[in-house]
């Protein structure tokens, strides 16, 4: 039984103030992502792919519209509530891994667990389990600089799932990796989606990565275009 964590973006707009000009990235965009989806988002640079992940994950605010995750209106939540909600419901995977370079792999994975009331022992147990899941059980004591790009990204994924969130937001998770490492990462994401039921939204530039997703959307000029429609034209 999985929780309802379907994501609904209803007529959302997002504008930035740049000097005197207002730049509109999204204008009344609507997007629905059901629980357990694995959605790939493609699109040219600057089309707003990262921005949409930020909005869903509650680290950026919409200018108008509604965002619902499960039954929660996250666009109406206070910053403190949002921060708390994010720590338990959302996992972020970044293109450049964003590991803290001075902390070991295990310490990086432990970071989100520090926000809970788990004891040191319980945290260590959890870290061990997760290192196993991403296949790095022998690398816990290594610093990020002692790991390959693919291994660092696996630590990144491990940190994202440490709190067992229902939703994973991945911004070009394989963008900085070679072919083989990329496939390993995508395999892990696939397993997290199919076997653990995580909802995954993944931004990617790599067309072959979309094969791992259940569906792919193209973002262009602030609008979503369905690939099948494009192909049918």
């Amino acid at each position: 039984m999985t929780l309802d964590t379907s994501i609904h973006l209803k007529e959302i707009s997002k504008c930035y103030q740049l000097g005197k000009n207002e730049i509109t990235i999204f204008d009344e965009v609507t997007l629905n992502i059901p629980t357990g989806d694995f959605l790939a988002i493609m699109g040219p640079s600057g089309s707003g792919k990262s921005t949409i992940l930020n909005l869903i994950g509650g680290i950026d605010r919409i200018s108008s519209g509604q965002i619902t995750v499960g039954s929660l209106r996250i666009d109406q939540m206070s910053e403190a509530k949002l921060s708390q909600w994010r720590s338990t419901h959302i996992g972020f995977v970044f293109q450049f891994y964003n590991l803290l370079p001075m902390l070991t792999a295990a310490q990086n994975i432990e970071l989100p667990l520090l926000l809970t009331s788990l004891s040191r022992y319980e945290r260590a147990e959890r870290v061990k389990t997760i290192l196993d899941i991403v296949g790095l059980s022998k690398r816990g004591k290594h610093l990020p600089s002692e790991l390959s790009g693919g291994q660092q990204q696996r630590v990144g994924i491990a940190r994202a799932i440490a709190m067992d969130p229902q939703v994973l937001l991945c911004d070009e998770p394989t963008g900085d990796l070679d072919r083989q490492s990329a496939e390993e990462i995508l395999d892990i994401l696939k397993i997290l989606n199919t076997e653990m039921g995580k909802t995954i939204v993944m931004v990617t530039h790599d067309p072959s990565a979309t094969a791992y997703a259940k569906r792919t959307l193209h973002l262009d000029k602030g609008q979503f275009v369905r690939k099948e429609l494009e192909a049918a034209q």
């Binding site: 930020n54 680290i59 972020f92 520090l114 926000l115 009331s117």
Partner: protein, 396 residues
């Protein structure tokens, strides 16, 4: 509880990343070291000066000066008043029945430094027959005492070492008078060592100051004698003088000088501290921009703004405290006990030692904390305002 954990984790990660910005961090540490040492230098100077003078003063020697005079140089006591004071209660008399009292006069004279060859002013003091009895700390180290009625001098050991023409058997000219140095004395490093002593009668004559007396020094009989003497003087309106114990006199004098040192020292230290604050601001702003992706990332994970603030702030406080600690150690090793000298109230050289104390260390730590709190506070606020989307778009 978990807020504390967040702060500990972020501070820990911060401090470990200090190596990435070691030079700018080290320069902050040393600017605080400098501020600490300068502040401690001034405080130790003021304190050492105070201590030296106060310690030397005796409780059972009275000093009498003209009413309204701030120091001996501006004071004068007329001969009839001296006679009245000889009969005053509370003063010790010797077996022959004369009061143990010394009428004294001070003349500032110029000497030349041995090393810098610059002129300096020292005190030539004419003392009465009981003058040395009233200064028991004075001990001859070579030569003999001056003969009454002769133009002979004895010289404090330190003066003899520092200035030309003041060694044993030298003859020195002051104005039109010629003096022979017949003895060198020491006095436990007290102010007395900074003077030349001779017979008051000779001084009055050779400097053309007939019967001029600036101060009296007398032996008090017991603990209540100072009070007795004071009420005797108060009850006698024909006596325009005031009386102090030697200890009171010295500490009042040193108070003024150490006040001047502090008035100079604190502003200089504060200006230096301001410089250190600017250094701290630069250092910590650069630390924040160095870590901004890290900060945005942990905030995206759910860490609070407070933890971002505390992490940066503690980094600032820690760097300044390390600087302060080094400054304290250096001051303890280099400054504490260092001999110095300064111009006393009577425009005469006074030797003293720098003395550190616990309260000075506390002052220095407070100043360092101030530097760290302000210099780290603004960058720490900045750290809380880093937009979280930097986590997505930037490479760390």
């Amino acid at each position: 509880m978990n807020l504390l954990r967040q702060c500990v984790a972020i501070t820990n990660a911060n401090l470990r990343s200090l190596g990435r910005r070691q030079w700018i961090s080290i320069s902050l540490v040393f600017s605080v070291t400098l501020v600490t040492m300068i502040l401690l230098g001034f405080l130790a100077m003021a304190n050492g000066f105070n201590k030296t003078l106060t310690q030397m003063g005796s409780e059972d020697v009275a000093i009498v000066m003209g009413l309204g005079a701030r120091s001996e140089l501006g004071s004068s006591i007329a001969p009839p008043h001296i006679h009245l004071l000889e009969e005053a209660p509370g003063l010790v008399k010797n077996p022959q029945g004369t009061t143990v009292l010394s009428a004294e006069t001070i003349v500032p004279v110029d000497v030349l430094g041995k090393q810098d060859h610059l002129p300096a002013t020292v005190s030539l003091r004419g003392i009465g027959a009981h003058g040395l009895t009233l200064r028991p700390s004075i001990k001859l180290v070579s030569g003999r005492l001056f003969t009454l009625g002769a133009n002979e001098l004895i010289v404090g050991q330190r003066l003899s070492q520092e200035y030309e023409g003041l060694t044993l058997n030298d003859t020195i000219e002051f104005g039109r008078s010629r003096w022979k140095i017949v003895g060198i004395f020491e006095a436990n490093g007290s102010v007395f060592e900074s003077e030349l002593l001779s017979d008051v009668k000779v001084v009055q004559i050779l400097f053309n100051r007939p019967n001029q007396v600036q101060s009296l020094r007398a032996q008090l009989a017991g603990p209540n004698s100072l009070e007795q003497l004071t009420s005797y003087i108060d009850a006698n309106p024909r006596l325009p003088v005031r009386v102090l114990s030697e200890k009171q006199y010295f500490s009042a004098q040193s108070e003024r000088v150490s006040q001047i040192i502090l008035w100079l020292g604190w502003p200089i230290s504060l200006v230096m501290a301001l410089g250190a604050i600017i250094g701290a601001l630069t250092t910590l702003y650069s630390s924040v921009s160095d870590r901004q992706v890290e900060i945005a990332t942990v905030r995206a994970l759910g860490f609070s703004r407070i933890s971002a603030f505390v992490g940066t702030w503690l980094e600032g406080l820690l760097l300044t405290l390390v600087g302060c600690f080094i400054g304290l150690c250096a001051a303890l090793l280099l400054l504490d006990g260092w001999a110095a000298s300064t111009v006393g109230t009577d425009n005469t050289q006074i030797a003293f030692e720098l003395k550190l104390s616990f309260s000075m260390a506390a002052n220095a730590v407070l100043l360092a904390l101030l530097v760290g709190a302000i210099g780290g506070g603004l960058p720490a606020l900045h750290a809380t305002r880093i937009p979280l989307r930097l986590a997505m778009t930037r490479r760390s």
